[in-house]
Symmetry: C2
Subunit: 336 residues, 2 copies
């Protein structure tokens, strides 16, 4: 079984986008706020939205199951207040849930959290529980910067986040650490903000003993771990300077990187330096980069080809493609 741990519903039906537009337009006048139950999407619309896209690419590329969440850049936690953020997370998660019920062998859900800048993330626990317990979701996306590029929240290692971590451990679900759109003109979303957030999160975790307090907390850092594998020597040296454990021990059963790195040389580096047990197959489709690489004739984000090309024992590839995902997302195995 080949599990892609990082897919977004970037082909969402227009009605969902219209709902969001109406929500944003009503921010100054809550009386005009659209009701979540006004959102109407038929099963056929949902089927159509993935049949020619994610499902077609699963078949074409030979992957089986996508861990599927709402569009990352669409979360935009910096827009709106607690009420709008909850409505928006719920509407987005409910559509992902419907995808997973229509195609239960192809998709399993990961939820968007109703984060709001300046609001303690404990407000997300209810929606997390609903998605895990009622919808069978296996994890969540956690935005380390709900301000959208201004980085006004405490670091991920701050007690600010602990109530949410307690709920995650209780539910036995991991979080993918994933920012959303950037409203800071310095940061291109997919070209800077995403990658910076990955690097930032890893360094926060390196410098703290968060996992001593939460030994069952698991965090997936997407986009190949940001800059970390390329600067593995820097991080090994920083761990030494900060009297922290060696990086493989520090990652342990707690930190995972995905394979959303869109060229062979990058994947080669990733598997050379990062422990195989901490790498999860992923493509981020349909995601950040949609074109065909003229150098290979294949899509940049067809990351399975890069893994297939690795001179690596089959048992290690099986870990990357399936085994590690089952460790990081234990609720997967209850479903499959």
């Amino acid at each position: 079984m080949i599990i892609d741990c990082h897919g977004h519903y970037t082909t969402e039906p227009k009605a969902l986008l219209d709902f969001r537009k109406a929500q944003v337009a009503s921010l100054d006048d809550p009386s005009r706020r659209p009701r979540k139950d006004s959102l109407r999407v038929s099963d056929d619309e949902i089927r159509d939205s993935v049949e020619g896209a994610q499902l077609r690419l699963q078949r074409a590329r030979g992957t089986d199951l996508t861990i599927f969440s709402p569009r990352a850049s669409g979360m935009a936690h910096h827009i709106g207040d607690e009420a709008t953020s909850l409505d928006w997370a719920q509407a987005s998660n409910e559509l992902v849930y419907r995808v997973t019920t229509l195609f239960p062998r192809n998709f399993v859900g990961v939820c968007q959290l109703p984060q709001v800048p300046g609001v303690a993330p404990a407000n997300c626990i209810g929606e997390l529980r609903r998605c895990v317990e009622d919808f069978g979701f296996v994890g969540c996306n956690l935005n380390p910067d709900p301000s959208g590029g201004h980085w006004t929240s405490p670091p991920l290692t701050d007690p600010w986040w602990f109530p949410l971590y307690e709920a995650m451990c209780d539910l036995d679900v991991p979080a993918m650490v994933h920012v959303s759109a950037s409203c800071n003109p310095n940061f291109h979303a997919t070209g800077a903000h995403y990658i910076n957030a990955d690097t930032t999160a890893f360094m926060q975790l390196l410098a703290s003993d968060l996992f001593t307090r939460f030994p069952r907390l698991r965090l997936v850092i997407p986009h190949g771990g940001g800059a970390v594998p390329y600067h593995w020597g820097r991080y090994r040296g920083l761990a030494m300077a900060l009297s922290r454990p060696p990086l493989p021990e520090l990652m342990g059963d707690n930190i995972f990187f995905d394979t959303c790195v869109y060229h062979q040389a990058g994947i080669d580096l990733l598997v050379k330096v990062v422990p195989i047990d901490n790498i999860l197959f992923a493509s981020e489709m349909l995601g950040a980069v949609k074109d065909i690489d003229p150098e290979t004739g294949h899509h940049f984000d067809d990351t399975k080809r890069y893994i297939d090309a690795l001179p690596m024992p089959a048992a290690d590839k099986q870990k990357i493609f399936e085994g590690n995902a089952r460790r990081a997302y234990p609720r997967l195995s209850a479903r499959f």
Copy 2:
């Protein structure tokens, strides 16, 4: 000749640090501001500060010339106002100048700019001119985020920066794009803020046509180009999606990456994907990571070993070690 394009005066005499402390202590009471001419450092103190450190390592590692600038994290442009920032930049640059006069074959200067958050960078032109014309400096360090981790300035491609670029082109000097200390608890300085800034700057440049307007502007992105080489496929794909030229053409004679990447696998990747003409040898010594790598028995930041180990034609290594630095810093050749 082996030119290290990225060295900082991180062994500065205590008197300089004391001056800065007094300056910071006087921020609320300008009448107590220390006078720059109160700073007294003897030639012997300067000799002592580098003899056992940068000079010893040049000899031990077999490098010849270090392009030398004040401590990057010490710039701290977020502290103080225009007057203190100018005093601090001048004091720091004058000490670097004295290092270059005491050891003219070993060090050539690059200046700190008196940037201040919210102040147009045109205020830096005077100090840049002084350092280049009076001190023989060959470039400057340009902080894309003088707020120290809040990213409140416009992107590097905004006209906000153009007057400084005009002066740089007029003087024929490049800038290394280098942030300073982080006052945002999310960002560890050397483990996140530095690397993020590199990635951010590259993506800003990728998305703009800055070099059409400033064809003679040259920017060095340190720390191996941040996350960019590891995500080369992502950036190639983003360039396509944004209808921008291929990355080698985009970098052209305008964007250079250094080799401050502290392990062999990272350097291997760098030279595999980035055009050799755009790579400058550097070690960032004495810098971010000072320990010995237990896996190799050599210092993490002894980057010359990684270049030496590359299976690469000698002519290409000569470009990385010397030729490209002479292209990026034309004033070097006037001096050597």
